[in-house]
Subunit: 468 residues, 2 copies
């Protein structure tokens, strides 16, 4: 009793080919790549937004709950800042953490112009961005946003993502965000293709992937949300060979996750040990890691006229780095199976190094994070990518990190990786980023760089800071 | 600076081919398939185990905590029975739930004899099995087991799974278990191949996949742990075409997971509303779903001499069924994106129907689970597979369900599936079962049946209850 039906190929290799064509197209139909930074700056000046640090007491509709001390909004929406207790065999700690259980949408609209995919990017202001306005996905909306919990305007283009025709969805996957700052946060990373005419609003522009690649080499231009969506797309070419088979890589990952003994408990912010608060900040007693502070956003002129909010501010700039090697000519990067307290499931694959170096400056070298000194001391001729990016400006204030790809060698990073580390190809990373909870958000930024060709791999010159 | 290295192919298609050869091999080197049920029965009689229902007060080392009322072991190990509060937009409920955060190992040892993979299966007694002894994986061990929290004997063959050579691992993936009864439980599903001699202990036998397939057609022979490990193996052939591409299937899954609004909270067992307890059981006031009871296991003679434990007992036998159709000659089954309160992440893909029918017998047809009546009323000539299997006998008492695969048609189950349902091929299910948290444990039993060829698909006769 076989029914006639329209079967289609399970594999959609065509999408990766079209992404590759777009990545190879350095000129778009809409705006010159070199003009994008100035276009963003115009929007920064145009919006006239000022971000000002304020006392917690000046927060509007935000307050510390009488019982738990948790910082929350009077509507019950947006997010809360609560406490987290993480217990591992070798250490235990308590910390504030952002709790925002709803799943947001990070969506990029795609459309062919002259046979080449272009992506609709937004000049979006976020208060935590060091330069306020960065290149963002078409849609970046929490559920509170699009159900209008803060009484804001419509989210433009949202309708394309709320109920899309599945066959036009190029990618759609739930991805984690920062496990050190967010409790089990995940967002939907989507790219949806459209055929018909789409109105072009003022703060938006169509760019090829090749244009975005060039912008990824500039400091603080492409925001985190755009980077993670690009990393989730099927862009990286699949190498047929690698140091490990895909099955061995999954087995290693399972073993790493299974061997961890991590106990996580949410707790009242009031009771978090080792932290203290004053009028303007909740800080660790030893001054390390991050602070919770409050800002006022004035004259924003986009969704609402202005607002106040708590925000997390790291104490110093971070470093996020992949060790990179060619084995038999095939690129590999060294991933680290890393536990973060806020992960829904224990650990994900992180870059070789991911930390704020100043947190460890007082420690002897042997107690600093593995490979940190190798990355900090990398000679210029080994640096294949070096660009400063900031994290989500809606929740993190000036959370800048230098993202590095450093070519290393057998002496410093042998082919047989130490426990907790593994050499993988960009194609393997991209394959895993097609599913949830394998690749953490910092590694996804570097994957976006690797899979689109934004790093100068194997050419011996740093790719950063060159204007396209 | 490319280093010479031993690259290997990323894809290991060879494993699937060797699994297929084993599935096609109906005769093994060790024991006739037809003798396995008697061999299991001999072990049942040999172990002399008696399982007796007891009062909670007769539990040894188990007690209800003074504050929470949670049922726990004095060692703090094994598991606890606590309360769970599940809130969804359309309903909210409270229930007891098993909390067992540690990750166990379900491992099958594989070895070639005469060029064909055989699998080392165990005749294992578990108190909740209706027939006590079933065919089980080589190793079935909680962390408490192998760290000897209950002072038991060594777990045989465990060393092959604790630190295996990755290249001999045929599959290794964390899989969820029953989300209605377990809080965020997952186990490691492993198949590890060995070359050298392996001592053969009395309660073990080597079987080809073809032999296990025939045993999967008999009631209560192959235990749940063996079924889920087999489902996680790369056995199903990958169809090149399907009703949906793999990318569309993932996009649909992401949309289903993202649209759910589920709030889960653990709570003290004492405070669970709608349930009551007496000396021998914790039951729902309306008698539906399941009970928590206690058993004494006497004369077990395996790891320890005897023990007592709490255990979950469903109120009636269940039904677990896939609607099955051929589209253009390609087999598809209808999966249901199903929320279960104990899932780590909201929902997983379940069979078309999965429930205990008596829980709904009092409701009008329109309020019973979708497709339940279709499955209960399926005419014999549409039934492609029908076998009774029981769930994990270490935690569930007499938890039997009839597992069905029923061929349906366009009238009852159209090619365009309703919201929350999707047609997928066995190859797509198998692909997803290679990762965590896509396919729930009941669907994995049916996947083991589908991917090994244990169902008589397209042949029009029921495959169940025929002795091989």
């Amino acid at each position: 009793m076989s029914a006639p039906a329209q079967l289609i190929p399970r594999s959609t290799a065509g999408v990766a080919d079209r992404m590759a064509l777009s990545a190879a197209t350095a000129t778009g139909v809409h705006i010159d790549t070199g003009e994008v930074p100035a276009w963003l700056a115009r929007h920064r000046h145009g919006c006239g937004t000022q971000v000002r640090r304020i006392d917690f007491a000046e927060l509007d509709h935000w307050s510390f709950a009488a019982d738990s001390g948790n910082l929350h909004h009077s509507s019950g929406k947006f997010f809360t800042i609560e406490g987290l207790h993480v217990v591992r065999p070798e250490a235990q700690w308590q910390q504030p953490i952002i709790v925002q259980p709803e799943i947001g949408i990070l969506g990029i609209l795609a459309k062919e112009f002259d046979g080449v995919l272009h992506f609709l990017m937004q000049a979006k202001m976020e208060p935590g961005n060091p330069n306020l306005v960065q290149l963002s996905p078409t849609v970046q909306a929490t559920r509170s946003n699009y159900t209008k919990a803060h009484g804001g305007a419509e989210v433009r283009y949202l309708e394309h993502f709320l109920d899309p025709d599945r066959e036009r969805v190029l990618t759609d996957v739930l991805q984690s965000e920062h496990g050190a700052w967010f409790y089990q946060k995940r967002n939907r990373n989507m790219i949806v293709e459209v055929d018909g005419d789409v109105p072009l609003h003022d703060e938006f522009c169509w760019l090829t992937l090749g244009q975005i690649v060039r912008l990824l080499r500039l400091d603080n231009i492409v925001n985190m949300d755009a980077r993670t969506v690009l990393a989730s797309a099927p862009t990286a070419p699949a190498e047929p060979q690698a140091l490990s088979s895909d099955a061995d890589l999954l087995a290693w990952f399972t073993g790493e996750r299974a061997r961890q003994d991590v106990h996580i408990r949410r707790m009242p912010l009031r009771e978090v040990a080792g932290w203290h608060s004053d009028e303007r900040a909740i800080s660790r007693d030893d001054g390390r890691f991050f602070k919770v502070v409050a800002v006022s956003v004035e004259g924003a002129g986009r969704e609402v006229r202005g607002w106040t909010q708590p925000i997390i501010e790291p104490v110093e700039a971070g470093i996020v780095a992949f060790a990179y090697r060619l084995f038999d000519g095939v690129p590999h990067v060294l991933v680290h199976a890393m536990v973060e307290g806020g992960f829904l499931d224990t650990l994900e694959l992180a870059p070789t190094v991911q930390c704020v170096p100043s947190n460890y400056a007082h420690l002897p070298a042997a107690q600093r994070p593995r490979y940190l000194d190798l990355m900090l001391g990398a000679p210029a001729e080994r640096i294949r990518y070096s660009t400063v990016h900031s994290e989500e400006g809606g929740r993190f204030l000036n959370a800048e990190s230098r993202y590095l790809i450093v070519e290393t060698d057998e002496d410093t990073t042998p082919a047989k990786a130490p426990p907790g580390y593994q050499w993988v190809t960009p194609g393997q990373l991209s394959w895993l980023a097609g599913h949830s909870r394998y690749i953490n958000v910092q590694a996804r930024t570097l994957l976006a760089v690797l899979s689109t060709g934004a790093a100068d791999l194997g050419r011996g010159t740093a790719g950063a800071r060159r204007l396209p």
